[in-house]
């Protein structure tokens, strides 16, 4: 069953012409953050979005959470468009879709005790659990994420990075959601702590039958945890498919370059020079014509400069947006 379906999502941001821009003579700029993104996630799967900073991964997450509204396209939760929901259904949607923020420090209110932070979801959705259930639930989830009861009476700054992240996870789980958007859940953590968070997320997924959208730029983690991967470049999905296929047999030149860029010590000889990608991602304000990857692509031909390639089926479970798939 499709739990989330995103179709032809588009989001533009406008750089409003401020005083300085008026003086210099620049008009308003349009940032094309997300362009024609479509994918769906089935119940119980982990779908990962990967890409470099500025490629629009987090914007997709914010769109799904309806923190910002799409300019075009639709988001369906269990076959129901979130833009056409009535108030009641939408509140239900909010309850069922949780979010683990990237910046785990600033997403916890420094003036509130952890106990208060974890109670907050119940204030917004008072009818979900009654008073007694609520307290039991907080204690149960706290135990599940590996924190003890004493934590409830502490402030967020008293916790280490890994523990603060666990509080964020606990808060996301409070209302028994079906779907969690995890934005870079392991970034900024040390290796062994990152591993423990990954284990925790895997356990919780089984325990509560969860579905994740996992946003990350850490390919090693994505390869390990996800069932499906979407590779984003400059607001578009350039390749999407099953994780094993994407990693073992990338079809888009960007995916190939991304995978090759990951430093790894399994390589026998460090003298072997890797085929690194030249240049840096272009700005989404002025994206290149045609395929946005063509200026960095070694396989680029004339047609790539003119027309934008669309996602097409390539192989059983893979779709790729390239005129000359590998």
């Amino acid at each position: 069953m499709k739990i989330i379906e995103v179709s032809n999502l588009k989001k533009y941001f406008y750089n409003k012409d401020g005083v300085l821009n008026k003086v210099i003579g620049n008009g308003p700029q349009i940032i094309q953050a997300v362009q024609d993104v479509s994918f769906h996630i089935n119940q119980g799967n982990i779908m990962a979005l990967v890409g470099e900073s500025g490629c629009g991964k987090t914007t997709v997450a914010r769109l799904i959470l309806n923190l910002i509204k799409a300019d075009q396209g639709d988001i369906k939760f269990k076959d129901r468009s979130i833009y056409n929901m009535n108030k009641e259904n939408f509140k239900d949607y909010r309850k069922n879709v949780a979010f683990i923020a990237q910046d785990f420090r600033s997403s916890l209110n420094p003036r509130k005790l952890v106990g208060e932070i974890l109670e907050e979801p119940f204030k917004v959705h008072p009818d979900s659990f009654d008073k007694k259930e609520k307290d039991n639930r907080i204690l149960k989830i706290l135990k599940l994420v590996g924190l003890n009861e004493k934590s409830l009476l502490k402030f967020p700054h008293e916790f280490s990075g890994g523990q603060a992240r666990r509080i964020g996870v606990a808060r996301a789980l409070m209302l028994n959601p079906q779907f969690i958007v995890c934005d870079e859940p392991t970034s900024g953590l040390d290796l062994s702590i990152s591993a423990s968070i990954i284990n925790l997320m895997k356990e919780l997924k089984i325990e509560f039958d969860l579905t994740y959208l996992w946003i990350s730029h850490n390919l090693n983690v994505v390869r390990f945890i996800s069932d499906y991967v979407g590779v984003m470049y400059l607001g578009r999905i350039v390749e999407i498919g099953q994780t094993a296929d994407i990693f073992n047999n990338p079809k888009h030149p960007y995916t190939e370059a991304l995978i090759q860029s990951v430093p790894s010590f399994s390589k026998e000889n460090k003298e072997i020079k890797r085929d690194t990608l030249q240049g840096e991602p272009p700005s989404p304000i002025n994206p290149p014509t045609g395929c946005s990857f063509h200026p960095r692509c070694k396989y680029a031909k004339e047609v790539c400069k003119k027309e934008i390639p669309l996602l097409e089926k390539n192989g059983e479970n893979q779709e790729v947006a390239c005129y000359f798939p590998l």
Binding site: E52, S53, S160, G162, D190, L191, S192, S194, A195, S196, I198, N199, K202, H217, L219, N220, V221, R223, F224, I225, A257, L258, Q260, S261, V262, P263, S264, F265, K267, K270, K273, R274, T276, L277, Q278, E280, P281
Partner: protein
């Protein structure tokens, strides 16, 4: 052969809220000419402190308590600050900071900042030409125009290239690179790493490369030192350390990395990194160690010489690393 850099029983002490703790505890390391030494460890393990004490930029609340750093046979702790600043810092010893965003001055052009280095830290006469050449060598196209731009007009990768230019223009004997690629995207990181490798070959500098990324360290280092709670727990050649680690901590770190086997649970090092002001007795790692025995909580292990030519601070180093 004389060692280029010799760190001898170095202890760096930090003071914080009337408490003091050792951020670097009895570290012995040496570096040959042209060698790349990778230093890995989790946050708070003292790796950056070590880098800063070599270039003498420790914050005021930190002090070298005892031990010595010999650079080209001379103790750098005894050199007067004025002389050190004139002849060593930025000249013989360069530093690449972690965060390219905040390391360039936002109110001066990139060219001005690079030219300053050339003016005050080298004897080169043709300052402008050298600056342009240097930027071109770092892969910055159109260097002459870009010299007149400000740091905010450069992307993160480009800023790191400028910092590399600043570090290498003085032709340093020793370069300390403190996580230079952490803030960058993977494809840009790969570019900077391959640029750095070319530069190492060209300038024949010795490098101390500080990072927490085991992948990066294996890309670039000849030799690796693993830090835990202010101490070196293992030193060995790059190949040996990843194939057959001889310290339980190194082994545990390698096991933490996600691999292809999806159904497996990732290995985790139990417990937390100890607070440096309340270190456990005996071996710092023993509360989290799988190999521990009674002895470990009583005695601090010295650095043992291992069969593979490295050093390991574990009583049971012979048993470690078989499982990998």
């Amino acid at each position: 052969m004389q060692k280029m850099l010799q760190i001898d029983k170095l202890k760096v002490i930090y003071r914080k809220n009337q408490k003091s703790f050792l951020a670097v505890d009895c570290v012995n390391l040496s570096l040959n000419k042209g060698e790349v030494l990778g230093i890995v460890g989790e946050s708070g393990s003292g790796k950056s402190t070590l880098g800063l004490s070599i270039i003498r930029l420790l914050p005021p609340r930190a002090k070298i308590k005892n031990g010595d750093i010999l650079f080209e046979g001379k103790s750098i702790c005894e050199i007067k600050e004025a002389k050190f600043n004139k002849d060593y810092r930025g000249r013989k010893i360069s530093y690449i900071p972690q965060n390219p965003q905040s390391s360039l001055n936002p109110v001066f052009t990139v060219g001005r900042q690079l030219k300053d280095i050339i003016k005050y830290r080298t004897d080169i006469k043709d300052i402008k030409k050298t600056a342009v050449e240097m930027l071109l060598k770092m892969g910055i196209a159109d260097a002459e125009t870009r010299m007149n731009e400000y740091p905010h007009q450069f992307s993160g990768g480009m800023k790191q290239r400028v910092l590399l230019a600043m570090a290498f223009v003085t032709n340093p004997t020793l370069l300390i690179a403190d996580e230079p690629t952490t803030a960058l995207d993977v494809t840009v990181e790969a570019q900077i790493l391959s640029l750095l490798k070319d530069l190492i070959r060209e300038y024949n500098s010795s490098i101390i490369y500080i990072t927490h990324d085991l992948g990066v360290v294996s890309e670039i280092a000849d030799r690796v030192a693993v830090f835990y709670a202010g101490r070196v727990v293992e030193v060995n050649d790059r190949d040996n350390i990843f194939k057959k680690p001889q310290h339980p901590y190194t082994e545990a770190l390698i096991k933490c990395l996600p691999d292809d086997n999806k159904d497996k649970k990732l290995d985790v090092i139990p417990g937390d990194i100890p607070d440096l002001s309340e270190l456990p007795s005996g071996c710092n790692f023993h509360p989290r160690c799988n190999y521990k025995e009674d002895k470990c909580s009583r005695k601090k292990p010295p650095l043992f010489d291992t069969d593979s030519g490295g050093k390991s601070a574990c009583f049971f180093y012979k048993k470690v690393g078989e499982a990998l």
